[in-house]
Amino acid sequence: MTRKQRRLTMIGGSLAVLAVAAALVLNAMRDSIVFFSTPTMLAEKPVVAGKRFRLGGLVQPGSLVRGDNLAVTFQVADGSAALPVSFKGILPDLFREGQGVVAEGALDAAGVFKADTVLAKHDETYMPKEVADALKKQGHWKDDYGAKPAYDAKPAAATQGASQAKQGVSQ
């Protein structure tokens, strides 16, 4: 092989690998990205039954019903709208009524959100970030959700742990 051929082989090979990588990324982008929504956003822009998405909001106080064999139903609300959710399995440690939650799954024909994963992914203020952002946008954010006792020193923003606490359950 001449020098030129060698170089062309190298460049060709590199481009081929890059092209494959790009194709894989684009393909995966189309199929495997999960969108986030809240009950209010769903009311404005409905999602077809069966399409997977992430639902975020607050667990409506008083809506949690525990059925047989670890089946639970509860309502996820974000102020103006609410959506019933059903789930079978163990809820995360920090799942509480009135607190934020993110569930992943799809709507069924009856309009109930069948969750197969309930995430309680928190920073130290125990509020999933998507939920906090959505609530803030709608003006439902209350400062005491993530409140810290005040002290008089130059304060820092909410500190993050060395790693965010990750918790969740899968069915």
């Binding site: 690998v17 008089d152 020193a153 742990g161």
Partner: protein, 660 residues
């Protein structure tokens, strides 16, 4: 007083870093050995002062001085001593202090043990280290000072997040930072080479051990973090493709590529420009990881926008160092002479292939991690890019890489013989096919993917053994000759064989765990029996008991297999009063490389308890693999070739150094 001394020591360290980043460069420009040697003294003194500062913070935590904001927010007087100490880096300010301490440690090591480096190269390297250090000292002092006081000190602290109160997470951040920050050395060497406009095989020989050390720590750090997530988060997952994890995986992938390209550069004096670029990219990805985790941008783009001081500061550091080094690269790289030619089918070619796939895989992780952030900033849409994305991109890119791994070491430098290598791999190929056939028969045509993937892993492991057998002449020469040759093999050869086998081992663990994992979720009462994968687990009872800073509910399970009692498992749920939060402590029972895993859910009103039980076959291989890789790296570092015989081109400068 301790807090003020610590603060003061940190300011002094900044002053020293500023001197270290300027004076040696002037010295190198003016060829003044006295000025160049300033680098060594300041690097060592800087290490001393930052270590003092770090010790001061540790002391504040040990004595529980709640008049310091950082201690108040992250500690509690009843916390066990170990977690008081590890709580130092369980928060933003403390972990940044740990970051700069490790940076200073590496700088100090280069200063102390870099006596065989040309004087000007050492001056440049330490000066670049000084720049990085100065930037981060400024960041800490301006935006994240851990020594701030509270005007009216509270009596009790707010305690460390309970999930962080764990031995795994106590050791994980220092390991990870030793890896992240260790890559700053190869970065500094790369920038120094660009500044000097000179680079040769000796350069690679100096860089390689530092890169290896950083890589070993990063490998262990990632593995440890993954094991922590597995047993502490209570649902048996060991990798989540979470941005925080990806932030550590990206430098690892680039660092692995760097290790391999540095070999080519050392042996064949080729791929110089690419090796320099990889050094820059690897440390840039480490900086990016620091930015992602430390700026708060992951917690919430919103929070980042409302309190941007820290994020913007790190972003600025990121832009200056990445932008600056890449500009320098674009400007000076052409000055570096190209070296050794090689055919596409050769050891060099195989290593190029390795680099291509590793960097492409790294790029897909980069896109998957940053695309959601970019989209949210630009359009406000929130998407989550999770495991499916990475399985579809990262997986297919790793597949050809794994097939190529056994071929690499069997190809000759410069011009290799692919057919010959394939012939020598026949035995490994047969072993792989046998594994596939046996698994296929055993699972009776279940999942087709798993036997194939395990076959591939067997191929990688057998390939690593083939390489050793070929080199020692095992089965061809008398056994005694083979063992003598084995002893004579360079340790780096053993190292690469172990590391490659480690990849295969980890792959077997990953495939087994994801394919044949079984789980049992139910509510159980006393004397209920759960059956999973042939094991019987009987719930004997539940007890409440107090711990040092928590109360726990502990369940006792008796585990038996075929009526034979194997042991007890005691999962628990801990309630931490200081933060009103709870953690799940999973119980693990190890059988060979497989594990039984129990974690507890909530108790129902009538006294039953929700239980999650997993049987995870071969799960421990997932972490034994990285340990093998790290062991291989350690063998490679201990190769004496990396310490002796490095050509010393700068005789004249060494003479000047003696006049110090």
């Amino acid at each position: 007083m301790i807090a003020e001394s610590g603060h003061y020591a940190l300011v002094l360290a900044l002053a020293l870093a500023l001197i270290q980043s300027t004076v040696p460069i002037l010295g190198a420009r003016w060829r003044d050995p006295a000025l160049m040697n300033v680098a060594r003294a300041t690097a060592l003194a800087q290490l001393l002062f930052v270590a003092a500062s770090f010790a001061a913070l540790v002391a504040l935590y040990i004595v529980s001085d709640f008049s310091v904001v950082n201690v108040y927010e992250n500690s509690h007087s009843t916390k066990p001593l170990l977690y008081k100490i590890t709580g130092v880096w369980g928060n933003h300010e403390g972990s940044m202090l740990l970051w700069v301490s490790i940076l200073a440690l590496f700088g100090g090591l280069v200063a102390a043990f870099g006596n065989n480096l040309p004087l000007s190269l050492r001056a440049y390297v330490l000066a670049v280290q000084g720049w990085v250090a100065s930037a981060f000292y400024l960041f800490i002092l301006i935006t994240s000072n851990p020594f701030l006081r509270i005007a009216s000190p509270p009596i009790e602290g707010r305690d460390l997040n309970p999930v962080l109160q764990d031995i795994g997470l106590a050791v994980h951040p220092p390991m990870l930072y030793l890896g992240y920050v260790g890559f700053s050395i190869s970065f500094s060497f790369a920038v120094a080479a660009l500044l000097e406009g000179r680079i040769d095989a000796a350069w690679a020989r100096w860089v390689r051990p530092w890169t290896l050390v950083a890589w070993i720590f990063l490998t262990l750090g990632i593995a440890m973090g993954s094991y922590w997530a597995y047993y502490e988060l209570g649902w048996g997952g060991w990798w989540f493709w979470d941005p925080v994890e990806n932030a550590s995986l990206m430098p690892w992938l680039a660092g692995t590529a760097l290790l391999h390209s540095a070999v080519v550069m050392e042996k064949r004096n080729a791929l110089k420009v690419w090796t320099i670029l990889l050094s820059i990219l690897t440390f840039s990805l480490s900086l990016l990881g620091t930015f992602l985790v430390r700026s708060g941008v992951l917690t919430s783009v919103h929070a980042f926008a409302t309190d941007p001081t820290r994020g913007v500061f790190i972003l600025l550091i990121l832009c200056v160092f990445i932008g600056g080094s890449l500009s320098l690269y674009a400007w000076r790289a052409s000055a570096l002479k190209q070296g050794g030619l090689f055919a596409p089918i050769s050891r060099e070619g195989a290593l190029v292939l390795n680099n291509l796939f590793l960097t492409a895989a790294c790029a897909t992780v980069f896109i998957g991690t940053l695309y959601p952030l970019a989209l949210e900033v630009l359009t406000g849409d929130k998407i989550s890019v999770g495991a499916p994305f990475f399985n579809l991109t990262f997986g297919p890119l790793f597949l050809p890489l794994m097939i190529a791994v056994p071929f690499g070491p069997l190809l000759a430098w410069k011009r290799g013989d692919l057919l010959g290598a394939a012939q020598r791999l026949t035995a490994a190929g047969i072993a792989a096919l046998l594994a596939v056939a046996m698994l296929w028969a055993w699972t009776r045509g279940g999942n087709a993917f798993a036997p194939l993937a395990i076959g591939l892993a067997v191929f990688v492991i057998a390939g690593a053994l083939t390489d050793l057998a070929e080199r020692t002449g095992l089965f061809r020469v008398p056994f005694a000759t083979a063992t003598r040759r084995a002893r004579g093999l360079p340790r780096a050869t053993w190292g690469s064989a172990f590391a490659h086998a480690g990849v295969g081992v980890a792959l077997i663990g990953i495939v087994c765990e994801t394919t044949w994992n079984s789980e049992y979720i139910a509510t159980m009462r006393s004397d209920d029996v759960a059956k999973i994968a042939g094991y019987e687990l009987k719930l004997d009872g539940v007890t409440q008991r107090p711990g040092p800073n928590f109360r726990e509910m502990q369940a006792q399970f008796t585990v038996s297999l075929d009526g034979r009692r194997l042991g007890e498992m005691t999962p628990s749920k801990r309630n931490f009063t200081a933060r009103a939060s709870s953690t799940t402590e999973a119980a693990l029972l190890t059988r060979g490389a497989s594990q039984l895993y129990i974690s507890l859910g909530e108790t129902t009103a009538d006294g039953a308890i929700a239980v999650r039980i997993y049987h995870k076959p071969m799960v421990l291989l997932i972490w034994w693999g990285p340990m093998l890789m790290a062991f291989g790296g350690l063998l490679s570092v201990s190769d004496r070739r990396l310490r002796v015989g490095a050509p010393k081109p700068a005789k004249a400068l060494r003479g000047l150094q003696a006049a110090e």
